[in-house]
Structure formats: C-alpha cells, structure tokens
Amino acid sequence: MKFVQEQGADEVLDLVCRMCPMHLLEPGDKLKCMQKGQVLEVLTDYDGALEDIPEWCKKCGHEFIGLEEDDEYYKFYIKKKK
C-alpha cells in the first residue's frame, strides 16, 4: 500500500458511513465530471476500500496515488488518467 502525506486534491468525495459498493460507484461518477490529470480525494471509513480502490483504479485505468490515514477515516487519492 502506498501512503502519502499532505497530498492536494481538486475534488473531495465524502463517503464516510457508506459501504460497498458506494466506495467504487461514487468515485466512478465523480471522475467522469473531472478533467484528465485532476486528483480526487475519497474519504471513507469502509475497510474493504483498502483492497478495492487500488484494484479498481487499475481496472479503470486511473492512477492510485496513495492513501492517508486519519483518526476517523481513510483518504484515498486518485488521479484521472483518461
């Protein structure tokens, strides 16, 4: 797992309290509205995202930049590649 610190983002998606598969569906919808090269920050407290989001980025052709842990949730950073 890649960890990052103080990674900036163009858009933030708050999915705290929501579960599978919203951690994959909502970033997909959000990225559609973003420009190539922009970074999306996804906040989630769903542990399954640790495995799912990097894998999902690979399948969809986006770059998984890394993860930052907070007391309450995880912050995932995804760069739109296509």
Partner: protein, 397 residues
C-alpha cells in the same frame, strides 16, 4: 353532504390524479430501478423525477432527498443517523418534549446507546423558546430536533430562529415537517435546517412512503444496510408506486398551497369561534395565532375524548383525540402534559384537522352535532359540575 372527515392529520385521501399517476407502476411499469437494461433505467429516471418534485416542494435539490417508508422512518434516520455518524464530536442530543413518538423514542434509543438526551420543555402554547434552547446546549451537543408544527395542538414553532442558534454553534438541526408540509410554506433554506422529515400520507399520497431531506454533504449513518438504493443511504428496492404518488402529491400540494391556506384557515376559524361560543368549559389548546391553518384542538371538561370521538363518528364526523399511540395505551397525551394541561382535562382532548376537501357545510354540521353530544356526555359524567379538590388535579405525564 358526505361525511365530515376532519382528521387529516391522521391520513389524507389519495387524490384522483395521484392514484392515476401511480397505477401503471403496479402493473406494466414493474421493472426494478436498479436494473441496467432499458426498462429498469427508465423506472430509475421516473424515481429521480419524483425526487425532484418532492425536493421542489421544500426548496431543496433532488440529490438531497432520501425516500423512506414513512415520516417515522425519516425521523428515525435523522436522529439515529446523525447520532451515530457524529458521535465522535459528542453524544448529546436535544429534542423538544412535544415531538412525535418517532423522535422521542429515537432519542430514548440513543440514551440506551450511551448518548445523553435532553427533552426541552415548551410554554403553555407548546412554543419552543430559542432562549431556553441556548441554556440546554452543551459543548458535546451534536443535534437538535424541533418539529415544524405539532400535530396535536397545531402550534408552529420558530424553526429559523432555533436553527440559527444551532448554526452559530455548529450543531446539526432537524425538523419534522410531517404536519406542516402542504399546509404552510416549507422551505429548507428559509427554515435554515440541515434535515427535514416528510410523510406522503399527510399530503394526499398513499401510506407507506416518506422522505428525509438532508443538506448536501451531511454525514448520515444508514439504518438499513444492503444495496445501492438511495445512493447507499437507505437500502431496499424502491416503493416505486408510492414514490410516484408522493411526487404527484408534492407537485399538487405546491401548486395549491396559496389557495388552500386561506380557505382552510377560514373554516378553522369558523369551527373555533362556533365551539367556543356554543360550549362552556372548553380549553382551546395550542398557540392562538402561530398555528396550522387547518388545525383546531380543544379539551372539553368532564368528557372522555374517546367517547366523544365515537359519538361524533356515529354521526359521520371524524376527529381525533390527538395522539393515537397514547390513546390506545390508555395514557394521557405527553404533549398536553408538556403544555401543563390538567390530567382530568386532557382526557377530553379532541382535535379537528381540516383540508381543502372540507366545506363550510361540514363545519356547520359539526357545530350542530357537537354541543348536544358534549351535553349528553357531561350529563352522565361523574365529575361534571364537581370541583376537583386542590392538589388532586394532577398534570398528565
């Protein structure tokens, strides 16, 4: 003249246009909105169109509406959903003492989960004083819930003032608008609320459908986990016919409000004036001015409200004692207790809720039948005409 149905706070008739809009979704238009093929995605679009209509009724955005099974579920989702999602900030919630049972019992449930709840007192009209709210707020308070209008006594609360107090302190504010929506203007921005509950049954839609408005980006813990319905905030295959009925009813309610409000207000005043002029020893409950336009509530001294309801029903007049839950449990209403009504007087609680399908003839009919029924019940009452010894009056709890 048809029966005088004056219990619209309990249920409203499903309007003809609403039923017609719903019917195809029981049969031909049956597909599951979550399906990805065309007949499923078409239904999904229909559901989202209704979401926009319900949002429009309260000045919200479509994506801020979660469909639920009822107003009670919306209230549960607001109280528990905010409580669980924000408990790291604090575990104290405040609700007014005259809330619907779905709010009061949700707050009591949170107490069982190691939260603390404050049940905020009201004045003799059931009015929540913003200054009183300020005094009970603590650093750990995360949520305040005060209903927009009370279903038993008709009082309309100063929601925007109460919400402003909370906003200043970063506290989430919820209001239950089940009794007010479709009867007075309800706008989430004017009210300044973060969450607001609605029920279809109060608006001319069928029973079994409700909605919770939540301000965009507000974290909310779902109560029903499962699929992706309602964007993962409330699982379960959508009640599509109910949602379509709710959307149509919301559209009609918005269109008709400016005509309905003065019309029912006139009928309400006709009823209140007639009752107070023709019947002695009656207490008019709720706020005299700040009240729902179609709401008239009284306590008749030395009368059992249920007896009065039955005798009125025998004459084709349908009203209510106020709280169905309290009434069936043979308990006096906590709302009447909270406004300081004596326990013996609270027994004679009767509530009339008027809608735009009522007429002046209905009110004349009630005013012709009600006084002799009250007189008859008092003639057989063991307490009529007797002074209750001081200290034995009690206040209902």
């Amino acid at each position: 003249m048809n029966d005088a149905y004056l219990d619209h706070a309990s249920a409203t008739p499903v309007k003809k246009e609403v039923l017609e809009a719903m019917l195809p979704y029981f049969s031909d238009q049956f597909a599951n909105p979550s399906n990805i093929y065309d007949i499923g995605s078409e239904i999904k679009s229909v559901v989202d169109e209704q979401r926009a209509k319900v949002a429009e009724l309260i000045g919200a955005k479509a994506e801020e509406i979660i469909f639920t099974s009822s107003g009670a579920e919306a209230n549960n989702l607001a109280i528990k959903g905010v409580g669980f999602a924000h408990q790291k900030k604090g575990k104290h919630v405040i609700v007014s003492s005259i809330e619907h049972h779905s709010i009061l019992n949700s707050a009591r449930f949170l107490e069982r989960m190691d939260f603390e709840a404050t049940f905020l007192p009201v004045d003799e009209h059931g009015y929540v004083d913003p200054e009183r709210l300020v005094k009970v707020i603590r650093p750990e308070t995360i949520l305040v819930s005060v209903m927009h209008a009370n279903n038993e006594i008709g009082t309309v609360e100063p929601i925007s003032e109460l919400a402003a107090v909370c906003k200043e302190k970063g506290i989430i504010f919820h209001t239950d608008a089940v009794a007010s929506a479709g009867n007075i203007n309800v706008d989430v921005d004017e009210l300044n609320v973060d969450l607001l509950s609605l029920s279809g049954a109060s608006l001319g839609a069928p029973k079994g459908i409700g909605a919770l408005y939540f301000r965009k980006n507000l974290r909310l813990m779902p109560l029903i986990h499962g699929g992706i319905q309602e964007n993962g905030r409330r699982a379960g295959t959508e009640n599509v016919p109910g949602i379509v009925g709710f959307g149509k009813a919301a559209e009609l309610a918005k269109d008709k409000l400016s005509v309905k409000e003065p019309y029912v207000r006139k009928l309400r005043d006709q009823l209140i004036d007639g009752v107070l002029q023709q019947i002695e020893k009656v207490t008019f409950t709720g706020h005299p001015e700040k009240r729902l336009p179609g709401h008239a509530s009284f306590c008749f001294e030395a009368i059992e409200g249920e007896s009065l309801i039955f005798m009125l029903a025998q004459n084709g007049i349908y009203s209510n004692t106020g709280s169905a839950c309290a009434s069936k449990a043979l308990k006096t209403s906590p709302v009447l207790g909270a406004i300081g009504i004596r326990a013996d007087l609270a027994q004679g609680s009767t509530v009339f809720t008027i809608n735009d399908n009522n007429t002046s003839e209905h009110i004349d009919y009630v005013l012709a039948k009600l006084p002799p029924i009250v007189a008859r019940l008092r003639s057989i009452s063991p307490i009529w005409g007797k002074k209750i010894p001081e200290g034995e009056e009690g206040v209902c709890t």
